[in-house]
């Protein structure tokens, strides 16, 4: 049983070395949303360059996965910060508390808009959320209240007579993507709720309500184009009749190739997303484990760097990467709360 001994010995070595490691960690560990990842990495890098602290390590695990890791305990082997493209849920706060993570500071960093865009050479679109729902849902309300029928709309004109008579063809991210979640929740559900009887259903049968509002048609009108937003932009360029769904930062980077549609009468611009008049936008957050401040070097300084005017301000370097900043009062308020590690209240 020679190799068994070796394995036992190896296991002992692993256990010994990792307990040595567990006594301290020099760098900040960040996990969480892939939407916040491009912003957090830039801040981390600048922080590493500007200060004498080590550059934080950032993993892109998705908002839910990040919060799960974050809430798994308070030791040095757990992350210090998690990024999220949605607010923390009550159930996650409870999970945190059950593992001893009681002091959490919430920092909202800005907004992300979801663009519904087509090629520059294509027609201008002005959609409402109701149009989006009627065009893309699997089942749509029939002639009578409470009746659902298969979605047979072929062109945008079938959905709304004011829209162009172009076949419905939308390229979007797959269900694993955070952008898809946000699109479904904000655009589809927003349009879905505009039918009173469906809205009433939310109270009676929540799962049925979700199924109606969140299910996208599968007959080829909605095409899952993969997680890579660059690819969607390229495909839109080749097909001026198609619409695509992706994050605002990609619209911003490719403003020479694609243009965003109006939603509920609002253009997709910095200002409209920031003041909330463009409805398909979501706030971005990061959460800090306050118990780790002072134990892991540099967390307070990292928060200070993130909430610096040169970082998240109107002219800050995060806007170069496509973040839509908060307004000035919110920045002042949230910045102060963040730097004084004000505990989270839901």
């Amino acid at each position: 049983m020679k190799h068994l001994k070796t394995i036992v010995a190896t296991a002992a070595v692993i256990a010994a070395t990792s307990s040595v490691y567990a006594q301290g960690r020099e760098h900040i560990e960040i996990v969480g949303s892939s939407t916040v990842y491009p912003f957090a990495t830039v801040v981390a890098e600048t922080f590493g360059n500007k200060t004498e602290f080590k550059t934080p390590k950032i993993e892109s695990t998705g908002s839910g996965g990040g919060l799960k890791l974050f809430c798994s305990g308070t030791g040095v082997d757990t992350p210090d910060i998690t990024n999220a493209s949605r607010r923390i849920k009550q159930s996650e706060v409870e999970l945190c508390a059950s593992n001893g993570v009681n002091n959490v500071t919430e920092v909202q960093i800005g907004y992300d808009g979801i663009a519904i865009a087509n090629a520059k050479s294509g027609q201008d679109f002005s959609l409402t959320r109701r149009d989006i729902f009627l065009a893309l849902a699997k089942e749509v309300p029939g002639a009578n209240d409470g009746e659902l029928v298969e979605n047979t709309a072929k062109t945008w004109q079938d959905v709304n007579p004011d829209l162009p008579a172009i076949a419905i063809e939308v390229l979007g991210p797959p269900p694993t993507s955070g952008t898809r979640d946000a699109f479904v929740e904000l655009a589809m559900e927003g349009g879905c709720k505009s039918f009173d009887w469906i809205k009433a259903m939310k109270k009676e049968d929540k799962s049925k309500y979700k199924e109606v509002c969140h299910t996208i048609r599968e007959d080829g009108a909605f095409i899952e184009a993969g997680e890579n937003d660059n690819l969607i932009v390229q495909k839109l360029e080749k097909n001026p009749d198609a619409l695509g769904i992706f994050g605002f930062s990609f619209l911003d980077q490719n403003s020479d190739k694609v243009k965003g549609a109006q939603v509920d009468g609002a253009d997709i611009t910095f200002e409209n997303i920031a003041d909330g008049s463009y409805p398909v936008s979501r706030p971005l957050y990061f959460y800090v484990k306050s118990d780790h401040v002072g134990k892991i070097p540099g967390i307070a300084e990292f928060i200070a760097e993130f909430t610096d005017e040169d970082t998240w301000g109107d002219e800050g370097y995060l806007t170069d990467k496509g973040l839509i900043p908060l307004n000035e009062e919110l920045r002042a308020e949230i910045g102060e709360a963040a730097n004084s590690l004000k505990p989270l209240t839901l």
Binding site: K2, H3, T6, I7, T10, A11, I14, A15, T17, S18, S19, Y21, A22, R25, H27, E29, Y37, P38, T41, V42, A44, E45, T46, G48, N49, K50, E52, K54, T55, K57, I58, E59, S60, D77, E227, N228, D229, N230, S249, F250, Q253, D256, K257, E315, Y317, D320, K321
Partner: protein
């Protein structure tokens, strides 16, 4: 003619034709696979080659003490946090005094990489006497300028279809006329760790991460695998049900999808033993699980190939079984074992899927110094770059693929040379 000869004659043409057809199909498939390989390699090389060059920009910076907010007797800490970015900014504003629009000013600041301020800082700290003087230095140009200099932005397109606008072209033209823009060999690509700014991004961190991970993998899997193979070949009881079971399972393990090892690593090493995430240690542990079966199978074949006459002669001369193994069988089997090991390691070097589960797909901006530092590996770096929106990352992705391929080719070459040189035939 005999009847049988007739029958053979009649079928002969058909048989020749069949042989020709078979040869033709075989040749076709080889040509086809070579063509695909050629297309793949030529696109990668064609795209990646420009990444080995990088545009630099010469600026005459005045290290004015007032702008920097320090004096000649400031401490090194004050020097560290002085306002070097302001110096760079003022230099650019002085060079192009006509720029007054706020948006254009911002674009002007962005023609040079933001690493310029850090470069300047390091120079001043190394030599504080520079304060108060004017120096010309070469700084990294911003990625958009770099992409333009490499001819990947067509200035004849309408302005709205270009990332570099007309007013920026005027600046670039002037800088070129004054010999202030120059393409040089891209040392950053090999000297820096990952960065979100394409011009500052390098592979050093990933190469070191791969090296450390492979080191852990080798140290763990090689002795365990050779010991297992030697035991199974030389000492294990023959025709024992348990031994057969183990053999079947080792062969099965070699075919298990690699992501499964990642999940195993997460459950056992991270959650149970508490090994830190994203480190070469955990990466090496998981990858050694993956390479173990490969090495065991190769080692067993090599040990089996050693002729029994040699072992019997050793036993006959009074050597113990262990002496026979270490003094005769293993040295003779070593070339085969090493070939198997190198091939297993090359396979592990190109692996990303199991690393996804154990946190090695991460942004790590520092070169790892040991097996406890956070690290990524080369294939993960390729994946991360290919997913970035900045256009300059496209060519760097291909360059990174070229570097990884170079490593793999070298490793496989060593395996072939070892085999050719040391293999003994009996």
């Amino acid at each position: 003619m005999k009847d049988s000869t007739k029958i053979i004659k009649a079928g002969l043409n058909k048989r020749y034709a069949r042989e020709k057809r078979f040869k033709f199909f075989g040749l076709c498939s080889i040509i086809l696979s070579f063509a695909f390989l050629l297309i793949l390699l030529s696109t990668i090389v064609g795209r990646g080659l420009p990444a080995f060059q990088q545009t630099y920009m010469k600026l005459d910076v005045t290290l004015d003490e007032e702008t920097l907010g320090v004096t000649s007797n400031s401490s090194s800490k004050e020097l560290f946090s002085a306002k070097y970015d302001k110096v760079i900014r003022n230099t650019l504003y002085d060079m192009f005094p006509n720029v007054s629009d706020r948006k254009e000013k911002r674009a002007l600041r962005n023609i040079v990489s933001n690493s310029a301020a850090y470069d300047l800082r390091d120079k001043v700290i190394a030599n504080p006497e520079l304060l108060g003087t004017t120096q010309s230095y070469w700084f990294l140009a911003k990625d958009d300028v770099d992409v333009y200099m490499k001819g990947n932005i067509d200035r004849n397109l309408p302005e709205s279809d270009r990332r570099i606008k007309d007013f920026q072209l005027v600046w670039i033209d002037r800088l070129i006329a004054e010999d202030r823009l120059e393409k040089r060999f891209n040392t950053v690509l090999f000297n820096a760790a990952d960065s979100r700014e394409p011009e500052q991004a390098g592979m050093r961190g990933a190469i070191m991460g791969s090296f450390l991970t492979m080191l852990v993998t080798l140290l763990l899997s090689f002795p365990v695998a050779v010991a297992a193979a030697a035991y199974l070949e030389e000492f294990a009881p023959q025709n024992n049900r348990w031994v057969d079971l183990i053999e079947v399972n080792i062969n099965n393990l070699a075919a298990v999808p690699s992501i499964v090892f990642g999940l195993l690593g997460l459950a056992v090493f991270i959650n149970f033993f508490g090994v830190p995430r994203s480190t070469p240690l955990i990466g090496g542990l998981v990858l050694s699980l993956m390479t173990l079966p490969t090495i065991i199978i190769a080692s067993r074949a090599a040990i089996k190939a050693v002729p029994p006459s040699i072992k019997e002669a050793a036993i006959g001369m009074g050597a113990s079984p262990v002496q026979t193994l270490f003094q005769h069988t293993l040295p003779l089997a070593m070339p085969g074992i090493l070939t198997g090991t190198i091939i297993g390691m090359a396979q592990a070097l190109g692996e990303t899927a199991p690393l996804l589960m154990i946190g090695m797909v991460a942004f790590v901006a520092e070169v790892p110094g040991g097996i406890f530092d956070p690290a990524t590996v080369m294939p993960v770096q390729i994946y991360l770059w290919s997913d970035s929106p900045e256009r300059a990352f496209t060519e760097r992705t291909s360059a990174a693929i070229m570097v990884l391929l170079a490593f793999l080719i070298v490793m496989n070459l060593i395996a072939i040379i070892l085999r050719k040189k040391f293999e003994r035939r009996w």
